[in-house]
């Protein structure tokens, strides 16, 4: 069946040839964005469509999150600040501008890095940002970031914390020294498993365009679960915690199974239709590195999913909440038909996000722009032979439009 994808050819591909294109900003470690200017640009592995921006192999670009505020976009993502050094996690942001029918993303600005000590001392990743009205330490802020952090280099046993800024490109200030969502594996497990991703994949949606937010996230205890946490972050020194609600999963199908998790999900609220859109990772069955998903699904459910409790004795068949929206983004969908070297598409497609407005709301009914991550496979011959771990630094972010 023909798929109706419109490939966004991000203008940033022009930057591929000049990894350190001039930008007025510098990273907070003082280096030019995009890596040291003395570094050699190494092209990543392309099996399909272009990335929305290019950065040298050696830098992973993953976990995108995009808000569009007027004519400006802010693309937050996870990136290592030192080439081929995974211990230098950061949350970076690139400013996007629309021109000539396409979005072009500028150079990265580092928002946050791991703390000197504490729960996020080894890794920061998977950030999501929402606009609102927040105060912290007596100062007003307009942007709230939720991010995953870990004191382990492998990002395991992660917690979720907050940061605030007056503008999307900084300066970002971490909220407190403790996480908002603290994951404790023993809290939910008595059978002795030792490796958990933890509390991950935060996704923020504003409830009132002010201080109240939904924090969607995934908790990787024995029964992995997606939650929506109602929070009043107006005063970040005294966060008011409301209900933490399971997001039911009926209607999601994947590989012949029903009701799988909303893996790696990002959420957008259609306030007019009162519908929740989600984009999730599918086919999470890869057995060779990188062990990530093979496709991305977009779904929707009534916002009632957050508040409905089937009380009393069950009446009839269980309610089906989710239905798929548009086509799945899989390898075929990522083919670039105009380039004979890119007709196979990507085999690793994961970590998706839906472009929303600054409050996490749907931009336009009928179409969704989904950004997602791809990664080269371990052992790909196009990767440098002298770097066995090169695939770990090959992630790119791409974009496709889903229509419905």
């Amino acid at each position: 069946m023909k798929k109706f994808f419109s490939v966004l050819i991000a203008g940033a591909f022009l930057l591929a040839l000049t990894a350190c294109a001039p930008d007025q900003q510098t990273t907070d470690d003082g280096k030019k964005p995009g890596g040291d200017t003395q570094e050699t640009f190494e092209e990543k592995v392309f099996d399909g469509i272009d990335a929305v921006f290019d950065e040298s192999l050696g830098y992973y670009n993953e976990h995108p999150s995009v808000i569009q505020e007027g004519a400006t976009r802010w693309l937050f993502y996870t990136r290592n600040t030192v080439k081929y050094d995974a211990s230098t996690d950061s949350i970076a942001v690139r400013k996007g501008t629309y021109s000539g029918g396409k979005w072009t993303y500028g150079d990265p600005v580092t928002c946050i890095t791991p703390s000197e000590a504490g729960w996020d001392s080894a890794a920061v990743f998977q950030a999501d940002v929402v606009k609102g009205a927040f105060s912290y330490g007596g100062k007003a802020y307009s942007y709230l970031m939720a991010y995953s952090g870990s004191d382990r280099a492998d990002r395991a046993d992660a917690d979720i914390g907050l940061a605030v800024a007056e503008a999307p490109d900084g300066e970002w200030v971490k909220v407190g020294t403790e996480p908002l969502i603290e994951f404790n594996s023993s809290e939910w497990d008595s059978v002795g498993l030792t490796w958990y991703p933890g509390a991950i994949e935060p996704s923020l949606v504003s409830y009132d365009k002010a201080g109240k937010v939904y924090l969607f996230y995934e908790e990787s205890e024995v029964f992995k679960t997606n939650y929506a946490y109602e929070l009043d972050c107006s005063d970040l020194d005294n966060i008011v915690r409301g209900g933490r609600k399971v997001i039911e999963r009926s209607g999601i199908t994947d590989l012949g199974t029903s009701n799988p998790l909303l893996y790696g999900a990002d959420y957008v609220w259609d306030t007019e239709e009162d519908t929740l859109f989600a984009v999730r990772e599918g086919r999470t069955t890869a057995t060779s590195e990188p062990v990530v998903a093979d496709e991305v699904q977009t779904l929707r459910a009534s916002m009632d999913i957050l508040d409905t409790i089937d009380q009393g004795i069950a009446q009839g068949e269980p309610r089906v909440w989710w239905s798929e929206v548009g086509d799945t983004i899989d390898g075929d969908a990522t083919v670039d038909p105009n380039d004979p070297d890119r007709i196979f598409g990507y085999t690793r497609i994961f970590s998706p996000t839906i472009v929303s407005n600054e409050y996490g709301y749907l931009l336009e009914y009928g179409s969704l722009e989904v950004l997602f991550t791809t990664q080269a496979n371990d052992g790909d011959e196009r990767l440098p032979a002298d770097r066995a771990d090169a695939y770990r630094y090959s992630q790119m972010i791409h974009s496709l439009i889903i229509t419905f």
Partner: protein, 500 residues
Amino acid sequence: MKAKVISVALASVVLAAAGVAYGAIGVSAAEAYPLVYEATGKLEDDQTLACTLSEETAVTGNAITLKVFMKNTYHYSLPVTISVTSRGQKYEWSKTAGFEVGYAYASPDASEATVSTRLQWNRAGTLELPYMFYGEVVLPFAELNAGAGAQIDSVSKIEIEMTAAVRSNFASGDTWINDGVCMYLFGVSCAIVENGDIVQTEELADFTQMQPDALELSAKTGKVVGGVRKASAEDFNVFEAFVAHYNAPCETKGDMKIIESVSYDEEAFADVSSERTAAELIGKFYGSGQIARGSIVDGVDGTALAYTLDSSDYDGGKNSYAGLHFNFGRRAATDWSGAKGIAVYVENTADYLISFALEIFQYNQKTGLLEQYNLNDEAQKYKTLYAYNVETGEEFSYHTQTFMRVPANFKGWIRIPFSQYAAPAWSMASDYGNEGVLDFDANPVVKISITRLFNPNQDTTVILDDIALYYSDFGVGSLFDTDKPSIRACIEQGSVPAGA
């Protein structure tokens, strides 16, 4: 009521209870007390109580009635086979379906109006005497299965054969750790019954005027377990307290009707010692499978049950579950119509997750079978529970499967909508006969089992206090959605509908 803390291994819970001093038998007053049959151990087979009359006694009615109080059973009811001997011929009542008439007294002295009640014949052909039944069992001669229609004009012997758990109509009876039966016997009469009403009675045997040796206890095979004694003054006080407790309405808390508070009404038990009260409290729980240690501890609201699995108790020869079971001590607790779900106050004293199952048993009035429902559902793997942590104030929902999972150090209420309950697949087999449809308008719920998988929960204690039915739609927290009250608001400000 703050009962003293007692710690009793449920394997021997009734034995421990029996160890409590029951008080001296008053010489004169004791003469008016009933006889008490009590078996606290594991029966090898059915046992029979036989009362041989001093002579062949003429009866003028068309039925006999048996007046009993069923204080403890190893299950919702004790299955019995009642027979009479007339002129050397033994006649027995036995049916495999339908109901028998019973009259339950609403007060200990039977002064208040009796309640016509239906006593179930089960498919094993025995009559079920329900937990807390106090009244008359009516057995018309016309319904005798042997010699039906026989003109019984005299009786020389009355026998009550009590079914051992291992041979009962109930599933998994062989895993019961003890049979745990205690029945007060008041007497047998012949009666004239017309249109289901007792219009005249004539005493055949008045057990309140007899000594224990008037009842001969024998075992079908194997040794006799338990015995017959004359009720003591305290036994009688206990009886009175139970009858008062049973007939009192359930307490309420917010939008919840408390169906088990793990404590006894102070007023009803005013004449019972605290030690005996505590023993009776723990004695109502009976165990199956692996040994569960139950004890009564101070709770948030009176006393609570501490349910411990001790690794030293593990028996590799048994199945992997431990079960604590109890019947409802109040009549009103069996009426679940209009309720939306079950709520339980739980404390997990471990700093890691523990789990247990809160299994409910509906008495299907159509089939006469007890039906088990729990969260073990092939069709809907994940079940959603709703929790309110009273220490942190947090409210949250979470998934679980088969068992209720309780997070580390959790203290608070967990709510389970009935929509989450289902009949386990195995129970739908014809051997068990579960129809799989909860219908609280038609059927009472009579029993709850608290089941724990032993290995993952060993050396942990779960504290259970009030178990309740809730009647309100609620939300999880109320920060955003104010249409529905939070769990906390339901507990603090809600109400139970009139008549619930």
